[in-house]
């Protein structure tokens, strides 16, 4: 069970404008800025839930995950994970969680993954029998085969991710923090990883917190989403409800067998794209029945389909409530040296 109350996290970031004079000045005097990565976020997650964190770059998602896993101390507010205060990094706490950061490896580079597994087994005090059983199951779920015996540097990105997941989970944690786990993977590998996470969640009743840029990860895996923007929580609840609330309109696609006058289409709805016989229009939810009925009756149709707009549109809409001021890209990731 995860409980977060009024979590605030601020960083001091070194600011230096470009140019020679500023560069020289910065030898003697560095200018700092206080960046609010997370500004008062509260939520509660029960055991076994799968929750997606959504938000643009620099919104505070990774920061929140790091606070939950004890890597960062909050500036204020309280955090409790499985009954522990993550800051104290007690052994029992650490044995119950895992953090996977996409593209940051914990596998030993020059050695086969099996060596990292052996090391983690020793670190997490996993008894031999349990270790073997878990590795068998993970091997099945992840389709590891002979991957674990090749040196890590010889694996492809997707194979490496599978082994990373095995290394991260061989101590059977019940709380998973996954930060961009599918980044850089090809589509089939993304699907495989998603399936694995779902299976692990169901088999071990594990809580899953996932951040991802790929909306398919979230829509496929997470019934509940927490949306964070500029360090503030702007939505916490069911994903489908969010979609419905944000964008009460549908996309209707026509495949036309003959020409149609533009104004005829515009009367039906907002034309999103028009491309040699295939037209997509956006129609408000409440007008859908009329539009579809009218189209079937009066347009030279070969095919018609009705879809939800891509979730990315919804996100873009959610986050573009300000004018085009650039977000703090990467600033909330703090001093990185």
């Amino acid at each position: 069970m995860i409980r977060v109350d009024e979590l605030v996290k601020t960083f001091r970031v070194h600011r230096r404008p470009p140019g020679m004079r500023a560069a020289l000045r910065s030898i003697f005097k560095r200018e700092y800025e206080i960046v609010r990565a997370v500004g008062g976020v509260s939520f509660r997650i029960e055991r076994g839930e799968r929750v997606g964190f959504l938000g643009p770059n620099g919104a505070g998602k990774t920061t929140t995950l790091k606070v939950l896993s004890g890597l960062l101390h909050s500036t204020s507010g309280s955090v409790e994970v499985n009954g522990f205060d993550p800051r104290r990094r007690e052994a029992a706490f650490l044995k119950g969680i895992t953090l996977v950061m996409g593209q940051k490896n914990q596998l030993i580079w020059d050695l086969p993954a099996a060596e990292t597994y052996a090391l983690n087994r020793a670190l997490f005090d996993v008894p031999r029998a349990e270790f073997d059983a878990t590795m068998r199951e993970l091997g099945e779920l992840l389709d590891l085969e002979s991957l674990s015996t090749k040196p890590t540097r010889q694996l492809s990105l997707g194979e490496r991710m599978k082994c990373e997941l095995a290394a991260a989970l061989l101590h059977r944690p019940t709380t998973l923090f996954l930060d961009e786990p599918t980044i850089g993977l090809d589509v089939s590998m993304q699907v495989a990883v998603r399936e694995f996470i779902r299976s692990y969640n169901q088999r071990y009743e594990a809580t899953v917190l996932l951040t991802s840029h790929y909306m398919q990860d979230v829509t496929a895996l997470c019934p509940r989403v927490i949306v964070i923007d500029k360090g503030m929580l702007i939505y916490d609840g069911d994903l489908r409800a969010l979609i419905r609330k944000m964008h009460p309109s549908k996309l209707v696609s026509f495949t036309l067998s003959g020409p149609v006058a533009p104004d005829q289409l515009e009367r039906l709805g907002e034309v999103v794209s028009r491309d040699s016989g295939r037209v997509v229009i956006r129609v408000a939810q409440n007008r859908l029945r009329d539009v579809v009925g009218h189209s079937l009756a009066s347009l030279p149709l070969v095919d018609l389909s009705v879809e939800d707009p891509p979730v990315e549109d919804i996100m873009r809409q959610l986050f573009s409530h300000e004018d085009g001021a650039p977000g703090e890209e990467g600033a909330a990731s703090g001093p990185s040296g």
Partner: protein, 283 residues
């Protein structure tokens, strides 16, 4: 450009370099400033002359060692420290890192030849390095050792050219060693072996006069002495002593620049061969 004729590729290379020079240098300085902690530390690593200074001045405090008195050791090692600071080069590590991380390709894609871009990052570090060398120079100038420093204007001019020559030889030797990394993964090991020889044969470890006769003979034929001992000896007035003089200085300067030409030629050849291999095998 005159119509109907294209400039030779070599000329174009130089032109491109000169056009890009201001930007390269500015970025180089910004880099230096951004990583100032690193650079200061790097400069402080040339401590061998200081330790040797401590050792030999202590030894010579009882009685002169060979013909070096305390004062002469002070002059020599501070001079060696300053010259080393001004002329040393880290191209081996730059190349090693870029080859290892596959980033050499980026450098090769720039319209300016890598020799120039590497040189630019070194030249732009000179101001900061000079800053660090200044305290030592001041100590040198205010100690009793200043009496033996060279004052003859002609020799000072030769000294200036000898420093440039030393920098060039050092830089291109480093380029050659770094280029080894284009063939095998062992450029740092090669550097280690090289450094051992360099330290002895260039007068970095001990003044060449302290080496046994046979070693001195060998050192006279190698380029190493022109990377360090030659400028230092000019600076501490060795060439003002009877038996040597302006003629000897000019002669040795000519030999140094002969080495400059030879080393640059070799570096270009090794580099080209290495790049051909690199491009064949990919990063």
């Amino acid at each position: 450009m005159p119509s109907g004729r294209t400039a030779s590729p070599a000329l174009e290379t130089w032109r491109a370099a000169l056009r890009a020079a201001p930007a390269m240098l500015r970025i180089g300085v910004a880099e230096t400033v951004a990583y100032r902690a690193e650079f200061v530390v790097w400069m402080l690593t040339t401590t061998l002359p200081l330790i040797m200074l401590g050792l030999w001045t202590s030894v010579a405090s009882e009685a002169p060692f060979a013909r070096f008195s305390e004062r002469e050791f002070v002059a020599y090692y501070l001079g060696a420290l300053i010259v080393r600071n001004l002329t040393s080069s880290w191209v081996v590590w730059q190349l090693n890192e870029e080859i290892r991380r596959g980033m050499l390709s980026f450098r090769l894609l720039r319209p300016v030849h890598p020799f120039f871009t590497y040189a630019a990052s070194h030249i732009s570090a000179v101001p900061l390095r000079s800053l660090v060398a200044i305290p030592f120079a001041l100590v040198l100038l205010f100690s009793s050792a200043r009496e033996i420093l060279v004052t003859d204007p002609l020799l000072l001019v030769v000294l200036a050219f000898s420093l440039l020559g030393a920098w060039l030889v050092t830089f291109f030797v480093m380029v050659m060693i770094g280029s080894v990394g284009l063939f095998v993964d062992k450029s740092v090991a090669v550097f280690d072996v090289y450094f051992g020889i360099f330290a002895v044969m260039s007068g970095y470890l001990v003044p060449l006069a302290l080496l046994p006769g046979w070693a001195r003979e060998i050192a006279a034929w190698l380029p190493f002495r022109f990377m360090l001992a030659f400028p230092v000896e000019l600076a501490i007035g060795e060439y003002s002593k009877p038996g040597l003089g302006a003629a000897a200085a000019l002669r040795d300067l000519a030999i140094q620049w002969g080495w400059v030409v030879l080393i640059i030629g070799s570096a270009v050849a090794v580099w080209r061969a290495g790049i051909r291999r690199y491009e064949a095998f990919g990063s």
